[in-house]
């Protein structure tokens, strides 16, 4: 593994070439579209930082109704009980289902919050000229990209419960507005991660080396 302090390798950008985001073919960066696949060509994803920040803020806002509003409602013999994400986790703990409570806690609380912080920090950290820990930040980005969809677990749980528990007047489960807000939040954070260009982290190193 080469050290982080070794001289910066020659990049395609420094030779006036751009790598296509879709098919990974190198073309002169003066071209407007890729000669192979026809995708529009950019040295870096356009407005990467602004888009990531905007989508991260949107996701953070969606996370509020996702936690405050009920994710599902149980109607048992005419009595409706609403439950939120946190309420559902507490109920599982109360029943002693610790592993399942842990799965939901990680998927619905830890992962979304960690993703929001990671994206905020990554977007903030690429602003200055003196970046640190390029390799670690790149790894953090890859992790953010990888874990994103696992947050969807709770939405799928609600869908299965709603589909299955339809016992006439005896017991019915209906989805709550938080399911929608939470699902939307997961999709928006995935879009935010997709619009972030990790090469911006390494551009700082080049600026440092002059």
């Amino acid at each position: 593994m080469s050290g982080v302090n070794s001289p910066a390798p020659e990049t395609a950008a420094s030779r006036g070439l751009a790598c296509c985001h879709v098919c990974l073919k190198l073309s002169p960066s003066t071209a407007h579209s890729c000669g192979l696949c026809g995708a529009s060509l950019h040295t870096r994803l356009p407005d990467s930082r602004q888009r990531t920040i905007a989508l991260t803020i949107t996701a953070a806002l969606l996370y509020i109704p996702a936690n405050v509003l009920p994710i599902m409602s149980t109607v048992q013999l005419g009595n409706a009980t609403d439950s939120t994400i946190i309420g559902g986790i507490l109920l599982l703990i109360h029943h002693g289902s610790y592993p399942v409570a842990a799965v939901i806690f990680v998927a619905s609380v830890i992962i979304p919050i960690a993703k929001l912080f990671a994206l905020t920090w990554l977007s903030w950290s690429i602003s200055g000229t003196h970046g640190v820990a390029h390799r670690q930040r790149t790894r953090l980005y890859r992790a953010t990209e990888l874990i994103g969809k696992w947050s969807m677990t709770d939405v799928f749980v609600v869908a299965v419960l709603v589909a299955l528990i339809q016992l006439g007047g005896l017991l019915i489960i209906t989805p709550g507005p938080a399911a929608l807000a939470f699902g939307a939040m997961v999709i928006v954070t995935m879009l935010a991660a997709e619009s972030f260009d990790p090469r911006l982290i390494w551009d700082q190193e080049e600026r440092q080396h002059g």
Binding site: A12, V22, F156, L161, L164, I165, L170
Partner: protein
């Protein structure tokens, strides 16, 4: 910028900067992806045709199939939620499998065809939005949640879906974006 050049089967190329795997060349990759894609397609059809789970409580019964679960959500006015669930677990995987087969069959024969580029673009754009393995975890959590209050009978579709997820992951995992595009490039030339 690095020169990857011609890789032999089994060779890998990593980024000298961040150490990310750039490509892992395998001569058999296309055939393997195609084989798993056909198996996954068959299992996905099975998973959508038979009961997924069945609930029995107080003499009442309720059977769930994947398409019916979506249809009921839609009927009860939860159209967006129905889409949010059905699209990443069934619709997108079906589109991806169809795309994969349309792309890989001519690519394997090195045949020049006008749809290689559009199918290639579609395939890699849709890939990140599939959540089939996440759905399995969701189902397992649901089973634990319901298990306390009712009897659950696991249907054929449940096992078919698990088989589908394994084949689907194997098919998608055999695809190397760099290698596929270089093969498309060779066919277009």
């Amino acid at each position: 910028m690095i020169e990857i050049g011609e890789l032999k089967s089994g060779q890998r190329a990593r980024c000298p900067r961040c150490n990310r795997l750039l490509t892992s060349h395998n001569d058999e990759a296309t055939s393997r992806a195609l084989a798993f894609a056909f198996a996954a397609a068959l299992l996905l059809v099975m998973a959508n045709s038979f009961p997924f789970l069945e609930l029995q409580a107080s003499g009442l019964e309720k059977t769930m199939t994947i398409p019916r679960a979506g249809a009921e959500l839609y009927r009860d006015g939860h159209a967006v939620l129905a889409g949010m669930v059905l699209v990443p677990i069934a619709v997108l995987p079906a589109v991806i499998l169809a795309t994969m087969i349309t792309l890989l069959v001519p690519l394997r024969r090195r045949a020049r065809s006008s749809w290689l580029v559009p199918t290639g673009r579609l395939l890699f754009a849709l890939n990140p939005w599939c959540m089939v393995e996440v759905f399995i975890i969701g189902v397992l959590v649901s089973l634990v949640k319901i298990g306390a209050m009712a009897t659950i009978v696991i249907g054929i579709s449940f096992w078919a879906y698990i088989g589908f997820v394994l084949c689907f992951i194997a098919a998608v995992g055999s695809l190397d974006r760099f290698q596929i595009w270089r093969e498309i490039e060779a066919c277009q030339a």
